[in-house]
């Protein structure tokens, strides 16, 4: 019959819808994957000029990577003692002044800010670096 001769060789998958679907899948995964979003850390910049009467002010100095000087004691930031100190400061609401020696990297400072925030210290300010 004439109708039978009209049969085209059947394509398994046509190209255009395939591209459409692939693109939509691509967009879906781009949106659903979480990109490395930028986070923030808040620090106060106020100087230690006026110590308030209510709360004490404590000075923390990063002397070496991983080591902090508090009240003339140099302790490791990974030690239990340091954790205990931070918890105490968080509980008492003391104002913390964080400074670093000038050669300490920014990442090190952020690391300490991080742990301070982690233990609930909100009263924290960042001071200028100290020459060794």
């Amino acid at each position: 019959m004439l109708l039978d001769s009209y049969q085209r060789p059947k394509q398994l998958i046509s190209m255009t819808p395939l591209i459409d679907v692939v693109f939509i899948l691509l967009l879906f995964f781009m949106l659903s994957s979480t990109f490395n979003r930028t986070k923030q850390i808040e620090v106060s910049t106020s100087s230690g000029g006026q110590p308030s009467q209510i709360s004490e002010s404590v000075k923390l100095l990063i002397t070496e990577p991983g080591f902090v000087r508090i009240n003339d004691n140099v302790i490791s930031v990974n030690s239990d003692e340091f954790t205990k100190q931070l918890k105490e400061y968080a509980a008492s609401g003391d104002k913390l002044f964080l400074a670093a020696r000038s050669h300490i990297s920014v990442q090190e400072i952020i690391h300490l800010l991080d742990s301070a925030k982690h233990y609930g210290i909100t009263n924290l300010s960042l001071s200028e670096s100290v020459q060794p």
Partner: protein, 116 residues
């Protein structure tokens, strides 16, 4: 015609999404932290690059950072965001801290990325 329009639309959306991904700068790897707060406000953005150059809202500073901030006539409630290269020494933050304090701004936001 219709498939062509479909694909053109998809390409459009693709580039709209891709455009949101910030171009990564080799000179600026911001430090990692465990902070959960998303950085949204970018009123004033200071960048400190690995080579020690300071950028204010994307333009390099010829004069000092204090002078440049002064020219902007900021209020005390202005929010300053600081993007700083992670391996820079602490002393590179001093000019920023100093000038921000002089303006009477009490808060500084340091941009960090989520630690893997």
């Amino acid at each position: 015609m219709i498939p062509a329009i479909n694909i053109v639309f998809l390409l459009l959306i693709f580039f709209m999404i891709a455009g949101h991904i910030e171009a990564r700068n080799e000179q600026l790897h911001i430090p990692g932290s465990l902070s959960e707060q998303d950085l949204n406000i970018r009123e004033i953005e200071i960048q400190v690059l690995a080579d020690g150059n300071y950028l204010l809202n994307g333009t390099a500073l010829s004069s000092g950072i204090a002078a440049a901030l002064n020219d902007m006539a900021l209020s005390k409630e202005s929010v300053i965001t600081l993007h700083v290269h992670r391996d820079l020494p602490a002393s590179s933050l001093d000019p920023v801290l100093n000038s921000v304090r002089k303006l009477g701004i009490k808060q500084l936001l340091i941009a960090t990325e989520q630690q893997p």
